[in-house]
């Protein structure tokens, strides 16, 4: 009496509902994981280091690809020669960041963008 009719069994097989839930569930889980990873990618600052983003292809070559940084040894004796060697390495490295004035404020001035208020006549 309670058994499904033949027609019902053909149109609604036993696995149909479970398969649908499984697919929808998988899609929802994938979307949540993508949202979480995108949020992490943005919030961690990793996106700022990623030049494969659209609009940055032209400047990809400007990034130093190899790390030519010579490290100072953290163990061993300390004498004048050691400190001279350190000073030499240090000077070599700070030169690249001290010599150029980074993020100059004038680049975004109203005048350089030609969006300053016109002089009143």
């Amino acid at each position: 009496m309670n058994e499904p009719s033949v027609e019902q069994a053909v149109h609604k097989p036993w696995y149909r509902r479970e398969l649908f839930v499984f697919i929808v569930g998988s899609v929802i889980i994938a979307l949540v994981l993508v949202a979480v990873s995108t949020a992490l990618y943005t919030s961690s600052g990793a996106s700022l280091l990623d030049l494969s983003r659209p609009g940055y292809k032209s400047v990809q070559g400007e990034v130093k690809q190899t790390d030519s940084f010579e490290a100072f040894s953290s163990d061993g004796p300390v004498d004048r020669a050691t400190l001279d060697k350190f000073q030499q390495l240090y000077q070599q490295q700070i030169q690249s960041v001290s010599s150029s004035s980074g993020f100059d404020g004038t680049a975004l001035s109203d005048q350089s963008l030609s969006i300053d208020e016109p002089a009143s006549q």
Binding site: V59, L83, F103, D104, I115
Partner: protein
């Protein structure tokens, strides 16, 4: 009766606060019509310039961030460790290195703020919203100034560390000190 009066007064205060708030938000220099027209007329060229600046800043940031980190990780920390292992007092150097690392973290944070401000300015439809565009460019300029300040502070700390190493060297390994040994 009294409680009703109090409630009425409180509601009035809340209403005044909400009504008055937008007035505070809108406070600031207002743009003249000629200024708005100028922004609208030149904004396409300004957008191109902004895009170029934004694109050029990315490798500059990456290179600087990499160098700053390497100086801390491969030079400062190692020298501090070596001096401490050899039982020298490296307190000043450790303090400067710590200040430098704090500033480096700040540099990354302010650059992120600047990048977001630039992205906001670039996304604005400057033809339709010239005042909004101008405001966002101003915000980006302020943020860029903070980045510049952080870069200057990092440079100061780098020089300070170098001078302290020199002082340490003079104190422990000058000709007079070596002659006494």
């Amino acid at each position: 009766m009294k409680s009703r009066l109090k409630r009425g007064l409180l509601l009035t205060l809340v209403a005044v606060f909400f009504v008055a708030s937008p007035t505070f938000a809108q406070a600031g220099p207002t743009m003249t019509d000629t200024h708005i027209a100028r922004v609208r007329a030149n904004c396409q060229a300004a957008l191109i310039t902004l895009e170029q600046i934004h694109a050029n800043d990315a490798p500059a940031y990456i290179n600087r961030n990499q160098t700053y980190f390497s100086i801390s990780d491969k030079l400062m920390a190692r020298l501090n460790s070596r001096l401490t292992l050899n039982r020298y007092d490296a307190t000043q150097l450790v303090r400067t290195a710590s200040d430098y690392n704090t500033e480096l973290t700040k540099f990354r944070a302010v650059y992120k703020t600047y990048d977001n401000a630039m992205t906001d300015a670039l996304k604005t439809n400057c033809k339709k919203e010239p005042a909004n565009f101008y405001e966002r460019v101003s915000a980006a300029r302020e943020a860029r100034l903070s980045v510049k300040e952080s870069v200057d502070q990092l440079t100061t700390l780098l020089v300070q560390y170098q001078q302290q190493v020199k002082q340490f060297q003079e104190k422990h390994f000058s000709d007079q000190v070596e002659a006494k040994r």
